[in-house]
Symmetry: C3
């Protein structure tokens, strides 16, 4: 049962990040293959980095085609003229969908990353769990931005990695007390809450030259 | 005998990708060391990523100096004023040589990647073989473009990763039926054919805003 | 005793590279979290790449929080208005501190990288030792520049990777004759000497279009 929930979560995160990568590719006017590659990289990048760090080779993405399939199908659907026209009809809608997809992916991948780290290293410290969770969460987006030639989102936009970090801390600290499911729910919820609030109230962290 | 052919192929691919990296460095007016590093990164990058994914550590490049030596010597030769003058004498010639080198490297590294994946994971699915083959083929070029500050070639230029993917699929599917050598020949040939035809006829994949 | 010296060196290198990453973030007007991430990436990036290449997973950085702690605290201190004002009061001072930090980090990480490679692969050839040393030395800075959207330092600035290479060669060649400590001292000293001299006398390597 639990493993089914995890798989559904992973696929939802994959879909969300694939969509955010593909939409970045559409914005940059990439061709259909470029859009698919950017969708795929964004969706599986965080997990591949996570598995390399944990010494879990070949990474899960390479062993089970379902993640790549979901990523590519998502990218192809977003490339359909009808879908694109719908999304591009309104810049506000496009940006909102991109934001929601990115937030959902960040929340899911952060807590799934912690779970994978824990499964692979049962003696892991909270430090390792949190570190691996954040890298799984933000890794795909950083690869997307580097490959698309943008400054990585985590450096410039609203509270992003910060949301992942707080969610990962919450999830990692609760792990031994509240059990897997509750910890993941609390951590993922915190990520979505913090990102949502910070975007709505335009919270920003202090900068050097304000 | 077979291992000699593989080594010759690997060295030819290394030479080709080192040349494409070094020529990118020359275009950017890098100094002699920068040209060598870019040649080296392009030539060995795909293989290092492949070995990390397969858990094959330290990667082959780090164990046998021949790949790094070929890369650096190739880069140094291209830096020679006489060679540079010859190449830069004609922009068309320069671009043609760069194209041929890049295509040869892509074809060779794609099929060699599949072979390495198969040797390391004999139970590998076709999916894993193809995925690893494409990453080995395009990985070095992606690193080259990211390090040189360009948008990765695979996102913007003629059918590139697409050629690698078709060649990898052909090679991976034939593997158990046609044997190693024939599969690699067919896969590599397909990569060269598709890239050559697409460049000649200026084929392009559909874009979002045409 | 020796392991204490190594730890002190590693922490000094971590501090130096964290400072160079954080100062790059300050220059780019990143927010406080971005400055910390860039400091952290620069400081631990080289070591993480090194450990992945050696198959040493999870990398040391993920197992012991001290490296991340030093990186983040260093970045936070540099973000303090008082410290920033002091550094930014004089562009020359800022650049000098950045240069010194970067050089110290390069020297320390190069020789520590060789030591880690040797500890992990006692049968390693000098080639592997040197290669891993240089990657440990320059890896963090390359990640910093790629993430900050700059052309990697190693391609454009004064003799940089070249200094790391000469120091690594010296250290790797001496290893079996002069012992660990002396080799690291000689190698690290060579890095600092070469970078210092090349900056002072504005040495540059030849370029293609001079």
């Amino acid at each position: 049962m639990e493993s089914v929930i995890i798989l559904v979560l992973e696929l939802a995160g994959t879909l969300a990040f694939a969509a955010s990568g593909a939409m970045t590719g559409l914005k940059k006017n990439m061709d259909i293959f470029g859009v698919c590659i950017l969708g795929l990289t964004t969706a599986v990048g965080g997990g591949v980095i996570r598995d390399l760090i944990l010494g879990n080779t070949p990474p899960a993405t390479f062993q089970d085609p379902i993640y790549a399939t979901v990523s590519v199908v998502t990218s192809l659907v977003l490339f359909l003229p009808q879908v694109r026209r719908l999304l591009m009809w309104d810049q506000g809608l496009f940006d909102l969908v991109l934001f929601l997809m990115d937030t959902a992916g960040l929340a899911i991948f952060t807590v799934v990353g912690i779970r994978t780290a824990y499964a692979h290293e049962p003696q892991a410290t909270v430090f390792l769990l949190v570190f691996v969770g954040v890298i799984t969460g933000v890794g795909g987006g950083v690869l997307r931005d580097i490959m698309a030639g943008d400054t990585p989102y985590i450096f410039v936009k609203h509270i992003y990695a910060c949301a992942s970090l707080v969610g990962a801390l919450l999830c990692g600290l609760l792990w031994h007390y509240a059990g897997e499911m509750l910890s993941m729910l609390a951590g993922g919820g915190a990520v979505i809450l913090i990102r949502g609030l910070s975007a709505h109230f335009r919270w920003n962290l202090p900068r050097a030259h304000d």
